[in-house]
């Protein structure tokens, strides 16, 4: 089975570039150039230099002893939370900003949910002195206030998206509208493995550094580069795709993707896309999305802004449909409890997105000696308000 993108931009039944003509020239320019530019030695050199000296890579693979004790397996945490800006998102924005420069772009736009991608984008724009506009849903501006302040300090303009559920989907709509209206000098840094081809592939390539490092670190620490399980949370699916990337063809490694069940998968307040969704087109690609029988997109819900999205990237839809990946979901409450648990057992406050992946450990059954890698996609500083309210801290 092939899990990578084909020459037409599809992963099995999913992918493609369902975009209005106004976006075609920009997306086509990217499609024609991204692989070649990324492969150029000077691009590679600069990318890896920045990853090392600016982001702080490689990120540690940490054997969490107390967590391991609790679950009776070796639980390794891939510490993307220790990256500069506090999440995996910067791996992608470094890659895309270098690409945008090569394409001669002068202005950068992005959508953000949790604000981590917005911060990571604003950061690389400050670094490279490019104009930066971030679209963010009004609801998210409120629940992720520290990240809004960070973006502003970094010199970005934060534009509220006030349509629909005022969250990530709506921010993405506004960013696409901006790109339509600025067809010449603007690059859109999409923050996850969603959007029209080549975005899902390009973002996955930049995030694949997560599993590339993990494999090396597993050999050093266990002598075997194949764990029994890898787990990651899925909003659009970029940290998960980075974590899965180099394990996709290792069929004995179980890939587990954790979606947000919100108040419960059947509560009407959920973002468990593979459970609730059907095949269709959202934000430029054919994938699985939450929708009415008439094809109108359903507003999702999750306590975690980064997972509060009614779709998943097309490659995830393919992994789901082929059965290569196992897609599960975790409720708001379960995730918050798991966040507190990690804090108390390991001294690490995770992002609420990440806490969804951790919460699924509670539901798994391990054999002694199982090796499990969880992508610790981000740190929880941005979520203190939500933790404080939930636990009455």
């Amino acid at each position: 089975m092939n899990y990578k993108v084909n020459e037409k931009g599809y992963y099995g039944d999913f992918g493609g570039a369902y975009i209005p003509e106004m976006l075609y020239p920009n997306v086509e320019e990217l499609r024609q150039n991204y692989l070649q530019i990324i492969a150029e030695p000077d691009f590679q050199k600069e990318f890896h230099q920045l990853m090392k000296d600016y982001v702080g890579r490689p990120s540690p693979l940490y054997l969490a002893k107390r967590l391991s004790q609790r679950y009776g397996a070796n639980i390794f945490l891939k510490r993307e939370d220790l990256n500069h800006t506090g999440a995996h998102k910067i791996n992608n924005t470094i890659g895309q900003i270098l690409l945008a420069e090569k394409l001669g772009k002068k202005r950068i736009i992005a959508e953000t949910g949790a604000g981590q991608h917005g911060v990571a984008t604003a950061t690389v724009c400050a670094l490279r002195n490019l104009e930066c506009v971030i679209y963010m849903g009004e609801v998210d501006i409120e629940r992720q206030a520290p990240n809004v302040a960070r973006m502003k300090m970094l010199g970005a303009k934060v534009v509220p998206a006030s349509s629909g559920s005022k969250t990530l989907k709506d921010a993405t709509n506004e960013a696409m509208r901006d790109w339509i209206n600025n067809p010449i000098d603007t690059h859109y840094i999409i923050g996850s493995v969603v959007g029209p081809h080549p975005y899902p592939d390009m973002v996955a390539l930049f995030q694949s550094i997560i599993s590339e490092e993990t494999k090396k670190q597993l050999i050093e620490q266990t002598g075997n580069d194949q764990p029994d399980y890898v787990l990651a949370c899925v909003g659009g699916g970029s940290n998960a795709m980075g974590m899965f990337y180099h394990f996709m063809d290792d069929e004995n490694v179980q890939l587990i993707a954790v979606e947000a069940a919100g108040k419960g998968v059947s509560s009407g307040f959920s973002a468990a896309t593979t459970y609730l969704g059907k095949e269709g087109v959202l934000h430029g690609s054919r994938s699985i999305l939450m929708q009415t029988p008439d094809g109108q997109v359903v507003e999702p819900h999750s306590v975690s802004a980064g997972l509060d999205y009614p779709g998943i990237g097309p490659q995830h839809a393919h992994l789901f449909k082929t059965g290569r990946g196992k897609y599960v979901s975790i409720t708001d409450e379960e995730s918050l409890e798991a966040g507190l648990l990690l804090t108390q057992l390991e001294g690490i406050i995770p992002a609420i997105e990440t806490a969804h992946a951790l919460a699924y450990l509670e539901k798994m059954e391990f054999k002694a000696g199982d090796n499990v890698v969880v992508c610790l996609s981000g740190r929880g500083d941005k979520d203190l308000d939500t933790y404080i309210k939930y636990f009455n801290l």
Binding site: P20, E21, M22, Y24, G295
Partner: protein
């Protein structure tokens, strides 16, 4: 439905059809009006069409609403949302269109996003269009390659023109390809923009319009996005077979009496 009946219906459609083609053969300076189905009230779709034909519109583009209209500006976003909130679906719309065709004789195109069409089923959608007398479709986020590979057959079988957009950034090669794939008209966007931006015909826009005019395309062209008054309409007509007005019209019918609003609006374009 029996095979016999089915072929009769599609025959019927093909005789009557090509209202679009007939229109372009007999008329210059075509005025096409876009409006959102089910707005301001769910049941207004038919009344608006009748009023528009009566006051001299040459062609109608009826928008079927979508929850996430990324190519639209605030006015059409709001009209789409209102229509959806009032319960509009493709099934309801096809019922209204059947009613509409009892009195309306000018060409009708449906315009909307691809996901509702995919859920309805592209084949079913084309069939339903033909049955109620729709002449063409504009689905901006249905890519040319997918159209050609998977869906073109259904559109052709049901005699539907599928209209593609081009912008000042669309390469000549691609325009030629679009010209070969379509058979209604080509929709020239005055600039790469979401709906509702004003048309400013500067030197670069003029150069772009002239470039297209000189390509000798087999299809006629209509200029759209940003046409709001007689002046911008006339300018557009100087370079094409006509123009499409959307946002300005949707704004004009937001409140008050439909017939009066339509007739007042259309007076701006006469004489």
């Amino acid at each position: 439905m029996s095979l016999f009946l089915k072929s009769q219906i599609s025959n019927l459609n093909s005789i009557e059809m090509n209202r679009i083609k007939q229109l372009f053969e007999k008329k210059k300076n075509i005025l096409s009006i876009y409006y959102t189905a089910g707005y301001p009230d769910l049941i207004d779709t038919v009344r608006i069409a009748e009023a528009l034909e009566k006051s001299g519109a040459d062609m109608l583009e009826i928008g079927f609403p979508y929850s996430d209209p990324v190519a639209d500006g605030p006015v059409i976003q709001a009209s789409s949302k209102q229509s959806l909130d009032q319960g509009m679906t493709l099934n309801i719309l096809f019922g209204q269109l059947k009613e509409l065709r009892k009195n309306v004789t000018i060409p009708v195109l449906l315009m909307g996003y691809v996901n509702p069409v995919l859920q309805f089923g592209v084949e079913n959608f084309c069939k339903a269009c033909a049955e109620v007398g729709v002449d063409g479709c504009i689905v901006p986020d249905l890519p040319m390659v997918e159209y050609e590979e998977f869906y073109k057959g259904y559109f052709e079988e049901h005699n539907l023109s599928n209209v593609f957009l081009i912008t000042p950034q669309t390469a000549d090669e691609r325009i030629k390809k679009i010209d070969s794939l379509t058979n209604g008209f080509i929709y020239l966007l005055s600039s790469s923009a979401t709906t509702g931006k004003n048309l400013e015909v500067g030197n670069t826009t003029e150069a772009y319009f002239s470039r297209i005019q000189n390509m000798n395309l087999k299809n006629p062209t209509m200029i759209g996005f940003g046409i709001s008054d007689k002046q911008t309409f006339d300018k557009a007509c100087a370079y094409s077979n006509g123009a499409i007005i959307g946002t300005a019209f949707v704004k004009a019918i937001a409140n008050g009496n439909i017939e009066q609003n339509v007739s007042d609006f259309m007076k701006n374009f006469k004489g």
